[in-house]
């Protein structure tokens, strides 16, 4: 009964979620442009919905989808050639040039994804465009999700993607990875993108689920792939950071999907193997001549992950690492995290003072975690009215359901 229609439909849905971006990456290489590849992807899945319930699921569905998508495009260009002769040339060229991808290995498909990441992160594209393109094209995030992760409007993201695609086409950015000589320079933007994918999975910005394990797994997989292909301290640092954060995944939420703070997490649920792997990668990365921002963040995560209990946390080391991190990448979010670490080391008043300084400069005023952090510090000081007001500010800005529930519970717990 494996191929009965409802099962086939479920299989296609699953394939779409799990494989559509891999299929797209290969189609972009095979067809040479985003528009044709996106059309081919759509056609391939439409054909699967039609054919698979009767013919059964092919033994290599991914290769079938690529092959079918390519064939449908060549066919469509041929049909359009009745009105526009140029289409026939394109179709003939495609047929000649592109090898039928039916017998591709998984390794080649990984290469396609890596190649596509480097195209999306081409230095001729503005960095915001690189990030938006990768999240959209490789990871299939919606423009809303991308916008939320970057605290900008969805229309801005959509515009960035349209312009980036126009530039790739008009300026002639080739569908190739970088030559070895340009690899280091082009790696930095790739790492930033992987980092942001991970963050979106680890602390999903909207919706009902706090965690999107597929995004974290995807980002870690990309990190591991990069680490296999490129010997670079920051690749190791980034992979370590992702492994160390992800090691705490099962302890971060309860059965209801609510957030559990680091302080209250059951450390027995932490994935010791991932912590070991991450810690060993940080150690390797820290021996590099210059220590980068991902390595510093990994070192902070390692300090937390290796503390037996919350009380054993080495806040002094963590404050020091945050100070280095702030020097390396001045950013209000890093400043906020440093303020929280300083509050742990020196007392809540110092933290509140630092957070207020950030907000008074007009930064992070739309960022719910700034108010939530301040509220927690007020609560520790039993300044309940100020805590309530800050929690309400945070609640107004928070878009993530479990976070909203968490904030509401804290408000309810405050003594009247």
């Amino acid at each position: 009964m494996q191929n009965s229609p409802p099962n086939v439909k479920a299989a296609i849905d699953y394939l779409y979620r799990a494989e559509s971006r891999r299929v797209l990456a290969t189609l972009i290489r095979v067809l040479g442009q985003f528009e044709l590849a996106e059309e081919a992807l759509h056609e391939a899945f439409a054909a699967a919905v039609k054919q698979w319930p009767e013919e059964g699921i092919p033994s290599n569905p991914r290769a079938w989808l690529v092959s079918t998508g390519r064939f449908k495009i060549i066919d469509r260009l041929r049909r359009d050639a009745r009105f526009d002769a140029a289409q026939n040339d394109i179709a003939a060229q495609l047929e000649q040039e592109s090898i039928d991808p039916a017998d591709q290995t998984d390794d080649q498909i990984d290469d396609d994804r890596l190649r596509l990441i480097f195209i999306c992160c081409h230095p001729s594209l503005a960095q915001e465009a690189q990030v938006a393109m990768t999240l959209r094209e490789i990871c299939d995030l919606s423009t809303e999700e991308i916008a939320s992760a970057f605290l900008i409007k969805p229309t801005t993201v959509a515009q960035r993607i349209v312009r980036a695609k126009a530039k790739i086409k008009n300026a002639g950015i080739p569908y190739e990875g970088p030559p070895a000589s340009e690899l280091p320079a082009r790696l930095e933007s790739v790492l930033q993108v992987v980092y942001l994918i991970f963050n979106e999975g680890y602390a999903a910005s909207t919706g009902n689920d706090l965690l999107r394990p597929d995004f974290t797994d995807e980002a870690i997989r990309l990190g591991q792939l990069l680490n296999q292909l490129i010997d670079d301290a920051e690749v190791k640092g980034l992979l370590a950071m992702m492994l160390l954060h992800n090691a705490r995944r099962d302890a971060r939420t309860n059965e209801a999907g609510d957030l559990i703070l680091l302080e209250d997490q059951d450390r027995n649920l932490w994935d010791r193997n991932a912590i070991e792997e991450g810690t060993s990668l940080v150690r390797q990365a820290l021996t590099a001549e210059s220590v980068g921002t991902y390595t510093l963040q990994a070192a902070i995560a390692a300090a937390h992950a290796n503390a037996r209990t919350y009380r054993d946390t080495n806040w002094n080391e963590i404050c020091g690492l945050y100070t280095f991190l702030l020097q390396a990448t001045p950013s209000p979010v890093v400043e906020l995290n440093r303020a929280v670490a300083i509050a742990m080391r020196d007392g809540p008043e110092d933290g509140i003072k630092l957070i207020n300084e950030i907000l008074q400069r007009g930064e992070l005023t739309q960022y719910h975690l700034a108010y939530a952090a301040k509220a927690d510090l007020y609560r520790r000081l039993d300044r309940n009215e100020e805590a309530r007001r800050s929690y309400l500010d945070a609640l107004e800005l928070a878009q993530q359901e479990p976070e909203r529930r968490y904030l509401q519970e804290r408000i309810n717990e405050l003594p009247r």
Binding site: H122, P123, S124, A126, R163, A166, A171, G172, E176
Partner: protein
């Protein structure tokens, strides 16, 4: 004597034109080129894709930096031009890196587009 005539306009203004108006302007350019060609005045010329398609290259301390967009500083003036044939932008960038003034100022790499009777890539 040879003279280089540089064409400037405000892209946002051009974006207001309808596709028909825009194609009509392009056809006007085509007949302008034809007229100059017939009289033996036209040596070379081409329209460019919008500034958004630009890549700027600078070389400082033997380090090449590649950035999106036209980033000539206002104190920099146009000093010359190279019309290059390259298979794609990566090759164009590598060729442009060999232009000596990249070490002093900047080299903006802009793709050339084709004038067409209709269906011209518009600014909108």
């Amino acid at each position: 004597m040879k003279y280089l005539c540089l064409v400037y306009y405000d892209e946002t203004q051009m974006a207001q034109l309808s596709q028909q108006e825009w194609d009509a302007l392009n056809r006007e350019c085509m007949s302008c080129v034809e007229g100059l060609q017939n009289q033996g005045h036209f040596l070379d010329g081409a329209p460019l894709h919008p500034v958004a398609s630009a890549t700027t290259i600078r070389i400082r301390n033997n380090q090449v930096s590649t950035m999106d967009g036209p980033f000539a500083e206002t104190k920099e003036q146009l000093a010359g031009y190279y019309l290059l044939e390259a298979k794609d932008l990566n090759e164009a960038i590598q060729l442009a890196e060999r232009i000596p003034p990249a070490r002093y100022g900047s080299v903006e790499v802009r793709p050339v587009r084709e004038l067409m009777a209709e269906g011209n890539v518009s600014y909108a």
